[in-house]
Each structure stands twice: as C-alpha cells, then as structure tokens.
Amino acid sequence: MMFWISIAALTAAAALSVLMPLARTRQSLALSSDGGPAGAATGVPLDADVEVYRAQLDELERDLERGLINKADHASARTEIARRLLAAEEERTRRLQTPERSVGRSRRLATLAVIALVPLLSLGLYLTLGSPDLPDQPLLARLEAPVENQSVDQLVARVERHLSQNPQDGKGWDVVAPVYMRIGRPEDAARAYGNSIRLLGETEGRLTSQGEALTVANNGIISAAAQQAFEAAVRLDPQAIKPRFFLALALTQDGSRDAAVAAWTRLLDGADETAAWVPVARQHLADLTGTAPAPALPGPDAAQVDAASRMTTGDRTAMIEGMVAGLDERLRSEGGSAEEWQRLIRAQAVLGRADAAREAADLARTALVDNQEALAQINALVAELGL
C-alpha cells in the first residue's frame, strides 16, 4: 500500500511540476499586461540582449574607476559595446511592432495532454516493465529473517556464511552436517563431519556419520575412506552397532564371504531382536549362507540404504525419507545429473514406493532426453529394479 501511495505522490508531483508554471504565469502575465512596463511580456529575448550590453557598459565603468584598464582601452571597448547595443535596440523595436499572437488554445491542450499522458504512460509502462509485487530482498534481512520463515537452503546459506568467516567453529560444522545429509548433499556432509572431527575431536557418532555420508555419496558402495572411518569408530566403541553393521556390509560387498558371515554372526549375537536393523542383518546372513552368494534383495545399494534407515527407530527412517524428499524436490526444480536421478529412483524403489520410483524414472527420461548414455542407464536401472 505504501508503495502505491508513493507512486501516486511521485506522479502527482511530476504532473504538478508542469501544471504549476502553466497556471501561475498566466496570472502574472495578466498582471503585467495591466500595469507592467511596455514590452515586458513580449520581445523577451531582445530585452535580454540589451540587458547584457548595458551590464557590460556598467562593468566597464567600474573597471575604469578601479584602474583595471586605461583610458584608451576603455574608450575602444565602450565604442564596441555601444555599437552592439544599438543593433540590439533596433532589433527590439522592430520586434515590438509585430503583433502578439493568441496562444490560449495551445496551453489548454498542453495542460490536458500532461494530465492524461504523464500518469497513463508512466503507469502503463511501469506495469509492463516492473515487478510491483516483488519486495526488496536485502541479503542481510533474508539471512536474519525468523527461522520459521526461511527455507532450508536459506538456513544452510546462513550457516555457510558464518562458517566461511569462522572456519574454526567446530560446533557449526557439527550442526550443518546432518542438515546436508537431509537435503541430499552427502559430499558436503562428509566434509562438514571431517571438519568437526578435526576441530572437536573424534567420537563414535561423528566418525560413523562421516562414513555413512561418504557411503551415500558413493552410491552406497563403502569406499576405503568410509571403511577407515567406521573402523576408527569401532576402536572408540567396540560395542557400537552402526559402524559394525557397515563394516559387515563392506565385507559383503567385497565378496569376502567367510569374513562377512563371521561379522554378521558376531553382530547378531545377543542383539535386541526388536531392533529395526536385525531383520536386515539376518537377511544378509541368509543370503550369504544360503544358495546364492549374491544378494537377493533388489540391488546391494538399496539394501544398505534400507538397512541404514531401519537401524535405529523412527527418526532414522524419517531422516532417510527427508533425504529422498529433498533430493526429489531439488531434481524436480533444478534438474540434476544422471547419477542423481538414478539415486532417486533407487531410493524410491527401496522405500517401497514403486509408483514414485516409476514417476521419478519418467521425469528422469524427460530431463535427460538429450543424453543417450544416461537414458540407457536409467532404462537399465528400471529393468533391474523390476519397475
């Protein structure tokens, strides 16, 4: 509202700057034609010329008085000005004898044009060019807006800004790391865990989370770096379930069948049967000891993600779901690489949402339509997952 009032005020002021002189000088003109000196209203330019020359003459006299010029120069300059003055006076007389034209109509026309044109043109043009409903968005205000009004991206940017200025703030890294995981940026999450470990020291939780982030970033394959993290976590807490789970998984992925069987067996030994991870571990064990050495679940990566999600209780599931939702949202709005699309399709399939997975596959095909190689990968994945 303030905005439209300001616009109206500006427009009015602009129109008035034209209308005021039009109205005012008409009055003063009427006055001067009553009793003003002859020729005040007409022959203006010639008056100005005569004025200039008269002022020049006055100044010449003053210069002579102050001794700035000598007599001879004064005389010749005086003659020069007088000559010009005479010519100007003649011209002025000639002008005064020509009659004044009537000009009232053009003024009314001008007034009308201004009243109509200035607001119409400026408003019309502004509405086509401008964005009146977009507020100012100064960076500081955006970053300092109440937390509940900010998007996750904004909050992350805020923390990143803070961390770029205070890179030694370990607590900050600790806070941002799980958020990175949730919004589908596992590489950044791994880096953030790395920083918090460097600054705040190793704990079982941080090391495990770092390993997990590295694993997710690596499409579920446990890399050497991730394995080191899990091993370090186990050294700190030999009874911790999660790192041992991943280490067992690593052995499974490596195809070290005997070692893997031993690891899963040790893990399940004395486990709380109600824990969410137990069925997954049993499944792996069964696969290894059963007929097929290869995993029977739809894809090893899927199994891990699945397992990780069920390991602890509800919030872990929620976190995975949040991650997937974040990835989904990001890919829909901004698009992404073939790799990211595959991650989404796989995740949806693993969460048991076949429809969502199929939809993601369709979206991926549209998004990657120009990329033959990626299309082939997507199709292969869809076939693999049996969608």
Binding site: F3, S6, L10, A14, S17, V18, P21, L22, R24, T25, R26, L29, A41, V44, P45, A48, D49, V52, A55, Q56, E59, L60, D63, I69, N70, A72, D73, H74, A75, S76, A77, R78, T79, E80, R84, E100, R101, V103, S106, R107, A110, V114, L117, V118, L121, S122, L125, Y126, L129, G130, S131, L134, D136, Q137, P138, L139, L140, D153, Q154, A157
Partner: protein
Amino acid sequence: MIVELGHFALVLAFALALVQSVLPLVGALREDRPLMAVAAPVSVGLFLLVGLSFLGLTAAYLTSDFSVLNVYANSHSAKPLIYKISGVWGNHEGSVLLWVLILVFFGALVGLFGSTIPAPLKAATLSVQAWVTTGFLAFLLFTSNPFERIPSPPLEGQGLNPILQDIGLAIHPPLLYVGYVGLSITFSFAVAALLLGRIDAAWARWVRPWTLLAWVFLTLGIAMGSYWAYYELGWGGWWFWDPVENASLMPWLVGTALLHSAIVMEKREGLKVWTILLAIFAFSLSLLGTFLVRSGVLTSVHAFATDPARGVFILGLLVLFIGGSLTLYAWRAPMLKQGGLFAPISREGALVLNNLFLSAAAAAVFIGTLYPLALDVVTGEKISVGAPFFNLTFGPLMVPLLLAVPFGPVLAWKRGDLLAACQRLYAAFGLAVVAILFCYWLWGGKAALAPLGVGLAVWLMVGAVAELITRVRLFDVGLKRGVARLVGLPGSAWGTAIAHFGVGMTVLGIVTASAFQDERILTMRPGETVELSGYDVTFDGVAPRRGPNFQEDVGLFTLRKDGAVVDRLEPSKRIYEASRMPTTEAGIHTAGFSQLYLSLGEARGDGGVDVRVYFKPLVTLIWIGCVVMSFGGLVSIFDRRLRVGAPTAARSRSKSRSALPAAAE
C-alpha cells in the same frame, strides 16, 4: 519497495522527459511564456526522479539485494564497500543510468541557475536536452533495464570484474562522464540557437563556462585513465592509442577547440556559426565514444551482433542525434548573422589557427580509430593502427599548434601587431633557446629532436608567465604596483596563463619521459643488482601473498642510491580467484617529478624472474600538467564578468612598446 520505486521513478522520468521535449520548445517557437516557464521546474523534477532511481539501484547494491538481476550479476556480498558503490556504474546498465543522471543534472543546473538566459533560449535548450534524455531513457528501459528482478534470488552474486576493483577505475568513469555529458549542454544550446534561428548575446556568454566545466572534468578523467593504464598495465606506457582512449581524446580535442572559439564569440561575436558546428561535433564525438565503448564493437565488431538490440538502438540514437543536428545545421546555419570581421594577424586569427589544428588532429584520431573497424566490417580484414600512424599524423599537427600557443594571448583583438607580440615574448624565446642548448650540452646528440621538444615546453611555460608579466608591465611600474595589478587581473587571464603553463608541463613530461627514459629488461635472480640512472636495484626474491580476493606473487626489491637504501618496491602479479584473471601491479618510486618503475614479467624455473626497470625523468609532469590545465579551466569558470574584447585603436600600432592589446580582457 525502494528498488521498485526507483524503477517507477525512471519510467516517470521518461514520461516527463517526453513532455519536456515538446512543451517548452513549442512555447519558445510561439513566444508563449507559460509554456516556456515549464522548462525550469521540469528540468529539476527530471533530475530528482533520475536521482531517486540511481539511489534505488545504489541501495540495492549496498544491501546486496540479489533479487535485482543487475546486482546479482555484478556484485558480491563480501566486496568492500567502496567497490559495492563503484559497482553501480561498473557495468553496462548502471553506467548508462549514471550517464542519464549527469545528463539531467546539467539540465537542472541550467534550469536552476540560468535566470539570466533569455526565456526562449532557455526553454529550447532544455527541450533539446530532454530529447537526448528521452533517447537514453528509452535505451535504458527497453534494452538495458537495471531494475530487472529475479523472483527467487540466489544467495550470492557473481562479483565485479577484478580489473575494475581499483580505486583509479572506481572514480575514472564518473569524471569522464561528467566531461562527456557536460558537452551535451553546449550541444543543446547550439541546437536551440539553430531552432530559434537566432544567436543572442547571452548565448555567447553561456557557452564558454559550460564548455569549460565539461572540459575540466574531461581533462581530469583522461589524465586519471592514463595514469591508471601506466601503473596497472605494467608496460610503463601512459598512452596506447587504444580505441577506448581515443574515444575520449576526440571529444577533448574538439572541446578544446570549442573552448577557444567560444572566446572569440563571447568577446567579439565572431565565429558564431563555426562555434555552433564545433558544439555539435564535440557532443557527437562524445556519443560516438559512448557507442564505441557500450556497443561492444571494440572488443570485436562481431560482439556487436551478439547483442543486436543494444548496438542497433544506440547506433540509431547516434544517427538520429548527429544526423539530425547536422541536417538542422545545414538548413539553418546560413540564416544566422555572422559576427565581426578581423585581420589574419589578430587574437581571432590565432584562435582560428588553434581551431584548425585541433580539428585536424581530431580528424586524424577519428580516422585512426574508425578505419580499422570499418575495414573489418566491410572486408573482414583485421589491421591495427598503432602509435606509428598517430605519431606521423597527430604529432606534426601538434607542433605548430603548440608553437603558436604563446602568441594567442599577447595578440590584440581584430588586428594585431606581430612585432609587438614578439617583443612581449622575446624573454620566453631566449629562455627556450637556452634550454635547447643546455639539453644538447647535457645529453649530446643522444636524441636529436628531444632538446627541441624541451625548448618547446620551456617556450610554452615561460610564454604563459611572460604574458602575465608584460600585461601588467611588472618591470615598468615597479614591483609593488605590479604585484597589485597581477592580483587584480581577471580570472580568465589567470586561467589562460595557468592552463597554457600546464600544457607546457605536460609537453615537458612527454618529451623527457620518452626521449631520456632509461630502461633495462632482464632476468634477475635473488641477490642480483642492476644499476640504472644512479640507482642500484637489488632483487631480494619473490614471496607469495594473499589478498582479500586474490593471490599474488610479490617481487621484493631494494632501491639504493649511493649505498643508502631509499625505498623498497614490491611489484606483483595477481590472480583474482573468482575469475582466474591475472593483473600486474607496478612498483613505483617517485623522486621529485621523476619515477623509477618496476614491473614483474614471467618467472623462470630457477628462481629468476623477468624484470622491467624503467627510469622515467619528469614523467609525473604529464599528469600534473593535466591537473594544472584543469585548474586553469576552473579559475576561468569563476570569472563571471561580462566580457568584451575590444580591438586596439589603429593609432596605437605606431607606438610599439606601449601597444598593450586586449585591454578589457
């Protein structure tokens, strides 16, 4: 709201400029006073609106409002405050907005302080100024809108070109623009006079101060740009005949000519028609300069085609304004009354000579700048017109002009006495000859022409002083009265002398710095010393260093004279992180007016590094001379007398010594 209000103010200014383009002019042609009276308040209104718009954009830059596309593309939240402000005009859209702001600022100056200008002239002038404003506002709104928004803005901007993150380049464009655009007001005066078919006495009075004001800023802007190139580009050169530089030099040359012909018009009512033509040309060349820099034709004639909307629009404006005003000139100029007659040997004659040479020089620069572009467009052939062309054309034109400079002020109006003028200059001539001989004695035949150049500079400087001294007859009337008379001299006389003295200083700087420069280009290893013009320069090694947004390799040098350490220089090569763009920073030691200039080249594998060392005698005089010239211009602006140039009476020609010309100056 501030941003959108700025946008609306710009649109409103466009509508108001349209009104201003028509109403006052119609009023002036029909002698309708109320319509003419519209001009002054609207000119102020236009300035306030565009000012509001500029403030809106500046506010967006200061608060890093990345919802404005222009801010997102050219700013970064971590940038220092000064570069956030200079970022406003460090890009295409913002710089055009600044252009328009200065345009309406000059209009408002005329509207506010032009109460002595006859109403029709004032009204028509402001209308013409509004035409130009309308054209550029349309350019801004329809092709280069700085207020374009992004609905969901990113959280960080893309940053400013590192080359522009320099204090010199932060203030160089506004100076240059005030100069360029200041010439618009003389253009508007000239077109108004053509439209009205009449040149008033007041016309003549007003043109000179306006031209001077623009000229002062143009001079400073060019000097600043030249100094920036000197310390930033690492070649030790101060002028490259680069098209961008030439684009600013052409309006300066014509503006200088205009300045001098305006004197003739103001004092003798002569050269009116010619002055009008010069006024049109001066601003046309400013427009051309803007076109060259803004359309992208300079980087490549093909860059013009990549963004045709902008290039074609500004080319259209160019054709419209230049073509239109020249057509108007061809049609109306013959109707204007010519002014007073004069003999060839007279102050007027000298100023005509000045005009001829300056115009020819501007034409030479024009051809050298545009011919390669035209050839590229027509045949696709790429040629480069460099210093040799300009040395052969521009140089020879300058020498006779500079030789004639001291004669101008000592000649009388209408018909001068060359003999009397020479007598007033004999001291200057004598000193110049002494200077030449001294230079030959000092440097021998090392550079045959250089001592003559030094002589020319001395001739200019002493000539300027001699003019003042002989005018008050310092040695005839005694020191005390003489000094009193000097103080009483009008500002314009002082201005002329100071500006001409400045020209001499610049010439001296150019001659000595180019002819007697001592240079070494070599590879130095840490610990090595090179001897140059009495200095021992020791290379201590290279150290890496981190700046706020760049990394640099700094060369550490110690400067000794007669064994004593006089300075430590740290020239460097920088890489800006955001753009990976390298820049060089020269290390400069100033001693008196001379400078020792150090610049780093490529690093060799073995710890050695290529180094360019120059000793440039009196090099700073080049820029100090420009500043002195500008100061002379300022002194002259504040001389607000009504000036009249009276010819000397014929009888006084017989009395040789006492013939004191141009008394009423």
